[in-house]
């Protein structure tokens, strides 16, 4: 779980940075980018499973979040607004490039084996080692419905509270709880399915 550095007394608030950015101050943009690039990247990476695509989504998300500031002002924080836009940008990118590419996280370590082959190999009931587990969790996450996946990733990776996830996605806290429940159920079921001989 991770989150960007929280503003403190020595750091300017997001609101101040946004005002400076609107005034054309380059340093304000750089500060906002540095402050939130990590949680934005984590969210995008978990949704896409690929570093280059995740960076594309981060770029797209920052640009859209900052060119449509009227979409959040007065209703949420910049962080939740940004993560919402980055998440949507990642999902759009994932749809465009196809779900198969989402599993490319497995490829660096097993360049000679495509994910489908890897999954078949992993279905022999043997104990999971760390690499197996990683591939299977990635696969299980990619199989979640988008709404559940985005909710789960915002909570588990961006470190947002239920309230912040609700604010980010424009849904109720009850819906957040429900989506998290179903996401976890499915993740557990998919993992159980994989390890059962």
């Amino acid at each position: 779980m991770s989150a960007g550095p929280a503003p403190n007394n020595s750091c300017p608030s997001d609101e101040l940075l946004l005002k400076r950015f609107a005034g054309g101050e380059r340093a304000a943009l750089e500060e906002l980018f540095t402050r939130y690039r990590q949680p934005a990247f984590r969210v995008a990476y978990r949704l896409l499973g690929n570093e280059a695509d995740a960076l594309d989504a981060v770029q797209e998300g920052f640009v859209k979040a900052l060119t449509h500031l009227d979409g959040f002002q007065g209703r949420s924080s910049f962080k939740t607004w940004l993560l919402r836009v980055v998440g949507n940008a990642a999902l759009d990118l994932g749809r465009q490039r196809g779900r198969r590419e989402m599993h490319s996280l497995d490829r660096p370590e097993r360049p000679d084996v495509v994910p489908e082959q890897l999954l078949r190999m992993e279905d022999h009931g043997r104990n999971l080692d760390q690499e197996d587990l990683r591939g299977q969790l990635t696969e299980a996450l990619a199989r979640l419905p988008e709404a559940q996946r985005q909710t789960f990733v915002l909570f588990a990776d961006a470190g947002l509270s239920y309230r912040e996830v609700a604010e980010t996605l424009g849904i109720s806290i009850g819906t957040v709880m429900s989506r998290l429940f179903y996401a976890r159920q499915r993740l557990r079921a998919l993992l159980t399915e994989r390890v059962t001989p």
Binding site: R26, F33, F41, R46, L91, Q96, Q150, T175
Partner: protein, 187 residues
């Protein structure tokens, strides 16, 4: 004094306990309930194991060069105020003037909408465009981006429950997440 947890907690409440999201009185009460209910403790333990596995999944750290490249791209797209600012404004003004001149003889009113670009231009084929659709949803058939069309509420079926933002459009087989960001029309 804290009230006892006198009912079977829902799975969502157990998850909220695990996530540290219960108000303090509820947390204390549920903790007391768990002390006498092994099934509940097993559920919480299963959540802990799932998240331990998930947290063990590495997220790579992009190199400083990649971060720099990403920031440079963001800055370039957001700040057309560089050294070529004057030229950029002149070119943009000229382009706008040309578009205006071309549009005027046909009597076409300029469209001042800025749809959220969910797909690139190469992937879009406008099937129909009705003036009444200017605030319609942009419908995209998931996974197969062969056709994109504007759809209005009568075209959609809301799938209820926890996924109320998921809609099915016409007879498309794949429900898609609909978000306010996907709304076309003026902002």
């Amino acid at each position: 004094m804290n009230r006892p947890w006198d009912r079977e907690p829902t799975p969502e409440q157990l998850a909220a306990y695990f996530d540290g999201e219960l108000p303090e009185p509820d947390r204390v009460a549920l903790e007391a309930w768990l002390a006498t209910h092994p099934d509940g403790r097993a559920e919480v333990e299963a959540l802990r194991q799932l998240h331990a596995q998930y947290d063990a999944l590495p997220v790579p750290e992009p190199s400083p060069q990649r971060w720099d490249a990403t920031y440079a791209a963001v800055e370039a797209r957001l700040a057309p105020r560089g050294r070529n600012w004057t030229w950029a404004v002149l070119v943009a003004g000229l382009a706008a003037a040309v578009v205006g001149v071309l549009a005027l003889p046909r009597g076409v009113a300029p469209i001042d909408v800025e749809p959220y670009p969910v797909v690139s231009a190469d992937e879009v084929r406008i099937i129909s465009m009705n003036p009444n659709d200017h605030r319609a949803l942009v419908g995209v058939q998931a996974l197969e981006l062969n056709e994109v069309e504007l759809v209005t509420h009568p075209d959609m079926e809301i799938l209820g429950g926890a996924t109320e933002e998921v809609v099915r459009i016409d007879d498309w087989a794949t429900p898609m997440l609909v978000d306010t960001l996907a709304l076309g029309g003026p902002r």
